[in-house]
C-alpha cells in the first residue's frame, strides 16, 4: 500500500507539471499535422497517417519517460523531499518502486490520450483500424517502461543532466543493437567479444517496434508478442533491482 500511495502521489505530481502538458499538446499537434501533410503527398495517405501518428506517439512517450524519469529520484534528493519519506517506515526499494509505478501510470494515461487523438484522425479519414495498431501501442508503453527504468537507474547515482544524456544514449543505442552485432562480426576477436557483450547487456528496443507491422498490415504471432513482453518485463525487473541496490547504499547529505 505504501508503494501505491507513493505511486499515486507521483502521478499527481506529474499531472501538476507543465512539462507533461507541453509534450502532450505537441504530440497531439504532430498527430493532427499529418492531416496537413496529406495535401502535399501523392498517394499512400493511409500509410502516412499511421506513420506520422505512431511515430509521434512513440517519440513523445519516450521524451516523457526520459525527462520525467530522470527527475523521479533526482528531484526528490535535490529538493530534499526524500528526507521526510526515508525517515518514515518506508523501505528505500518501496520508494523507488512507487516512483516507477507512478510514472508508468502517467505514461499509460498519456498514451491513452494520444491514442484517442490518433484514432480520431484515422476515423475522420476513414482509415481501417486493425488490432495490430493496439499491440503496437502496448509495446510503445513497454518500451517507455524500459526507458523509464533506465532513467531511474541512472538517476540513483548521477546528476539529472548526466542521467538524461545516458538515458537518451541508451535509447539510441537500444535501437541499433542489431548493428552492434553485425559490426562485431566484422571485427577481430576482442572487438567481437566487446560488441557481443554490449549487444546482450543493452536493451534491444527495436524488438518493441511494431510500427512497420501496422503500416504494412502484418499480424504478430501471440507467442512472439508474449516473448517480447516477457523480455521487456525481465529487463525492467533487472534494472529496478540494480537501482534498488545502489539506492540502498546511498547517503542523503
Amino acid at each position: 500500500m505504501k508503494v501505491w500511495s507513493i505511486a499515486v502521489n507521483t502521478f499527481r505530481e506529474n499531472l501538476r507539471d507543465k512539462l507533461l502538458y507541453n509534450l502532450l499538446v505537441f504530440a497531439l499537434l504532430m498527430i493532427g499535422s499529418s492531416l496537413l501533410l496529406m495535401h502535399v503527398t501523392l498517394g499512400e495517405f493511409h500509410r502516412l497517417l499511421l506513420d506520422v501518428g505512431l511515430g509521434s506517439v512513440n517519440i513523445f512517450s519516450v521524451l516523457i519517460a526520459v525527462f520525467v524519469g530522470i527527475g523521479l529520484v533526482n528531484k526528490e534528493i535535490e529538493k530534499k523531499t526524500i528526507y521526510t519519506i526515508v525517515s518514515k517506515p518506508v523501505a528505500r526499494y518501496e520508494f523507488l518502486l512507487g516512483k516507477y509505478l507512478g510514472l508508468t501510470i502517467t505514461l499509460l494515461v498519456n498514451l491513452l490520450v494520444m491514442t484517442a487523438g490518433l484514432l480520431a484522425v484515422l476515423v475522420a479519414q476513414a482509415v481501417p483500424v486493425e488490432a495490430v495498431l493496439f499491440k503496437a501501442m502496448g509495446l510503445i508503453l513497454l518500451e517507455c517502461m524500459v526507458v523509464t527504468a533506465v532513467a531511474l537507474l541512472f538517476s540513483t547515482f548521477t546528476s539529472a543532466t548526466l542521467s538524461a544524456i545516458f538515458t537518451l544514449a541508451t535509447y539510441v543505442i537500444g535501437h541499433l543493437t542489431a548493428d552492434l552485432k553485425t559490426f562485431g562480426g566484422k571485427m577481430g576477436e576482442g572487438g567481437q567479444a566487446l560488441l557481443d557483450g554490449l549487444y546482450y547487456v543493452l536493451p534491444n528496443l527495436e524488438r518493441f517496434n511494431l510500427k512497420g507491422h501496422v503500416t504494412h498490415h502484418l499480424e504478430v504471432q501471440t507467442a512472439e508478442l508474449l516473448l517480447i513482453v516477457a523480455y521487456g518485463l525481465a529487463y525492467i525487473a533487472l534494472l529496478l533491482v540494480s537501482a534498488s541496490v545502489i539506492f540502498q547504499r546511498r547517503d542523503f547529505r
Binding site: 505504501k2 530534499k80 521526510t84 526515508v86 518514515k88 542523503f252
Partner: protein, 321 residues
Amino acid sequence: MMSSSDLVVQTEKLAKTFRVGFWGKKVTAVDGLTLDVRRGEVFGFLGPNGAGKTTTLKMLMGLIHPTSGRASIFGHPVGDLAAKARLGFLPESPYFYDYLTSREFLKFYGHLFGLRGAALEKRVDELLELVGMTAARDLQLRKFSKGMLQRVGIAQALINDPSLVVLDEPMSGLDPIGRKEVRDLILRLKEAGKTVLFSSHILHDAELLCDRVAMMLKGRLVACGEVTDLVERGTTQYVEMVIDRLLPERLAHMRPLTERVVQQGERVMVVLSSQVHVDEALEIVRASRAKLVSLTPHRASLEELFIREATGAHRPVETHV
C-alpha cells in the same frame, strides 16, 4: 542507573567520514559520538554550523549510513522500519511537495504509516488545528511562507503520534512569534509524554526548553549534561545600558567603568565591561536624575562558549549522566 528501556536513543562511538571533491578527500563529520536520550526528556543538540549535528540526526533517521559505531532507537538499529514507525522527523529548512495542498500533503504521509479513511481525516484536521493551519488547508504548499511550511512540516512529523520527535533546527528562519509557537509546541509535546530531540545553534532556545543538552564541535562531543550547568558556564560578559538625558559631566564619571559609549542626541548607550560596575553606574544615573531606558546583561554567545570548550577541554566533559 537507567534501565535500557528508559533510553530512547543510544549511540556508541558513532562516526561518519565523507569523501569530498575529485580526489575523494576524507572529511570527518562526526567522530566517536556516544550519548543517550532518555524517555520523556527534551534533549537539545547544540553546536555551531558545521559541527555535525545534522549529520548525526540524519544517521539516526537512516538517511546516512554511519562509517563506524552503533546507534539505536527504541532498541532497534537505526534505519529499522520498526524504529521509524515510532518517530517523527522535521528536516532542516524543509522542502515539501509544493504541488500538494496541506491536507493532501498530510494525508499522503498518513498513508505511509498505513492510516486510512475517517481516522486519517480526523488526525489531519487535528494536526492542522494544532499548528494553526486550518484556514490554509486547501492551499498549495508553493504559496506558503517559510513559517507556514515549518508548521505543516511539524504537522507531518506528528502524523503518526510518535513517541520520539526529532526536529532539525526547528526555529531557524522563523520570526519571534513563530519561534515562540515552536517552543510552546515542544513543551506541549513534553507534557504529552513525548521525547523530543532537537538541534539548534542558539543557546537561548536550549535554555528555555531542554532538560539536557549535548554540545558538539567539529564532529566531537565537547559537553553533555543538564542545561543549568551549561548556562552557568556562560557567565555574563558585558552589560549594556541605555540612558536618556545623562549630563555630560556625569557621563565623564561613568567613562572609567565603560568599554564603549555611543551617544545619539539626548540618548546614550554605555557598555559596562563587567557586571560588578552595574550598581555604581546606576548610582550615577540616579544622582543625575537621568532616565534609565534599559539594562541588558549579555552572556557569551554559544559560539564563544564552544571556542572556550574546544580550547579548554580536549576530551568530552560529562557533567551529569
